[in-house]
């Protein structure tokens, strides 16, 4: 048989439960803008058996509201978006350097060099025009070397980005392992570990921007795997490493630091970095091919034409116009550079003969690299790069939209709606007031009963 005070006990349990539920709602509202916060809900349950609900209601637990499937989709979408964004940014930067529409770029320098040769062909003995041709050749060499240097520095930058990313990923992997342990300990001692779970999710979200991860929750906590390698298992984390190496072309590789096994990554910013390195290497190889073609002495090359010509003094030249120095940089022959009268503008010992300058201009418009003239080669490289950059801009936008949609799906479950929380708060306030009234009525009844007995 129930106690005489069971009514007050029911009311008291209700008061406590609604107070806790209001606290949970308050916590949700306070964290409406906190990154990684997953909204909570107080789960109420009746006290007693279904036949005899003598205890009223109590809070069973405080539940985090999250959808694991939506979360994994959002992580995959975030990885794809970061990959496309990184690659897009790098390709747009690479495009700026190669841009044939920019004043002062390699393409316009080649045009200026050709024009100066044309002018010299009409006045081959003109000292100022000879100076202009040498300056034009030096500008072409400088632009090619600058371009090659810019791409080399972009490669080094991508390598540094990869190292920095790997360092951050390793720190988050260690954080996930540590949180696995803390969550296990907290929950074993009966405490709520929702905030720790939020932190762990956030750490995994961060990692998934860089690499495609699969997350499986076991009794040990999160097991995080990527590229065919388990990186976090329970309290243990396996760090990863990045390496930019390879001959002749550089390659960016990621591996598990412990066992050296290469990670076969499918998506994420790290994949974007790897693809960016491959793309820039391709461009750098193209630029090197052009440098090689300009410094070649093969028949029909610019240098072969120059060597066959005659200097202003009427002597056979026998000298190349372009050479490669010991570090592989394209240079104008220092003899010609110091003394433009050694420029072989004539096809005969006569200084009024500008036929060799015409032939040099012709050679500059003839196939030298990949069956293309230098300017054509550059425009073809730029065209392919522009096409890729434009496609990446679109695909990055698409990936961004997909990510937004996936994040919204996660948010629709885990996010806080102020309107919804406020409505619930009003409901709980009313319930709380009702419980208080219930206690008051029960108390009055008890008083009346005691008065009757007295």
């Amino acid at each position: 048989m129930s106690s005489n005070f069971f009514g007050i006990e029911i009311g008291l349990n209700a008061l406590r439960s609604f107070k806790t539920a209001q606290e949970v709602l308050g916590n949700n509202i306070s964290n409406v803008s906190t990154p990684g916060y997953v909204r909570r809900e107080a789960v109420l349950q009746p006290v007693g058996t279904p036949d005899s609900l003598t205890g009223g209601v109590t809070v069973e637990n405080i539940r985090r509201l999250c959808d694991g499937f939506a979360q994994s989709r959002a992580r995959a979408a975030a990885g794809a978006a970061r990959q496309e964004e990184y690659l897009r940014d790098i390709m747009l930067e690479a495009e700026q350097y190669l841009n044939p529409l920019a004043e002062g770029g390699l393409y316009s320098r080649l045009g200026e060099f050709w024009s100066s040769l044309q002018q010299l062909s009409a006045n081959p003995a003109d000292g100022a025009l000879r100076e202009a041709v040498v300056a034009g050749a030096e500008n072409v060499a400088r632009s090619l070397n600058d371009l090659s240097g810019q791409y080399s520095s972009m490669l080094a930058g991508a390598g540094r980005d990869a190292e920095s990313a790997v360092s951050q990923i390793n720190s988050r992997l260690a954080e996930v392992a540590a949180l696995n342990r803390q969550i296990q300990e907290a929950e074993a001692s009966g405490l709520q570990a929702n905030s720790l779970r939020d932190q762990r999710d956030q750490a995994v979200d961060f990692i998934s921007g860089y690499m495609d991860v699969s997350v499986y929750e076991s009794a040990e906590g999160f097991q995080v795997a990527s590229g065919g390698q388990v990186l976090v298992f329970g309290k243990n984390a396996l760090p990863i490493a990045a390496e930019l190496s390879g001959v002749p072309a550089l390659e960016l590789k990621f591996s598990a630091a412990g066992n050296g096994r290469e990670l076969n990554l499918g998506a994420g910013k790290l994949v974007g970095m790897r693809e960016a390195v491959a793309g820039i290497e391709e461009l750098r190889a193209g630029i090197q091919k052009l440098s090689d073609a300009l410094s070649s002495t093969a028949a029909g090359s610019l240098n072969a034409v120059h060597r066959a010509g005659f200097t202003l003094a009427g002597n056979p030249s026998g000298e190349s116009l372009f050479t490669l120095d010991s570090s592989g940089l394209l240079r104008v022959n220092p003899l010609v550079s110091a003394n433009p009268s050694l420029l072989a503008a004539s096809a005969s010992p006569n200084q009024g003969d500008g036929d060799n300058a015409t032939a040099l201009a012709g050679a500059l418009k003839s196939p030298l690299a990949d069956s293309m003239a230098p300017a054509e080669f550059i425009s073809s490289l730029a065209s392919a790069l522009g096409l890729r950059a434009a496609e990446l801009e679109k695909s990055a936008d698409r990936a961004g939209l997909l990510e937004t949609a996936a994040v919204n799906r996660v948010e629709s479950m885990s996010g806080v709606s102020l309107d919804e929380e406020t409505a619930k708060l009003l409901e709980l306030q009313t319930s709380y007031a009702a419980a208080a009234k219930f206690i008051s009525v029960a108390n009055n009844m008890l008083d009346e009963l005691l008065a009757i007995i007295r």
Binding site: L101, W114, Q118, A125, T404, M413, D419
Partner: protein, 301 residues
Amino acid sequence: MRVTQKMLDRSMLGEVNNSMARLAESQLRMASQKKIEKPSDSPGDLQALLAAKDQLTVSAGYRENIESAMLRLRAADSGVSAVYDRLMSAKEAIVRVNGAMSEGARSALAEELENLIKAVVEELNSRDGGEYIFAGTASGAAPFSVTRGPDPDGAVRIQSALYSGNGASRSAEVSATRSEETGVPGDEVAGASPGCVLDTLIGLRRAVLDGSPTAALQDAADAHMSRLDALQVRLGSRISYLSGLKDRLVSADLQTEARRSSLEDTDFTEEVLAQGRRQVEYEAVLSAAARRSKLSLINYL
């Protein structure tokens, strides 16, 4: 689907950012007045744009060559004309010769002819931009050299002339498929030696001093004048051809420039209107975002 605060904030910020990016893009196009600044702006139009720009550069190079060739040909024409005039003057001077002329008068006439010879040598050794016009491609040295010696009257005068230039003509590319000669070798102007213009004039001077007949030499002078006439016609025709070619290039450049402009340049009026639209759109997005942020039950309460 539940709509949460963060979803609303993200959507609002996304709209503001997109709208601002569109506005900035429009402002950039107005400032640069170009719709293609880099290949990725319009990869499909890049090759056509570069082809148009290349054509303009190449055409500018050919036009410069044509202008330079025309200047050189005009200088040659002027030199040929001057030689013709000196021959004409010599012929006029010869008309004054008669049997009653005193030795002093013959010497004076010989001196007059000597001055004409010097003038012709000077014309044939004339320079343009530091280079000898009538030296062929050996333009670094004076093409005509003379030797002096005493005449029967005792005066030291030019006795012979030697052409040391070559017979090659300088040329310049004036189109992708054509090179044009930009000068005339000196031996073509003076005629083949012996019997060149200078030899004829020297012969006339000697005949005046000797009192020997000048008829054959006058015929030779006439032949030179006819040849120079023909040469001037040839030079005139070459200048006229180059002038026409230049006009055609200018006209073709106008079309190429129009093509380049349609591919690369912004339609300013259209862009101003678009910019106005985007400005309004941006302000509307900002205003909607500001109003939306107040529409919360918690704010209402």
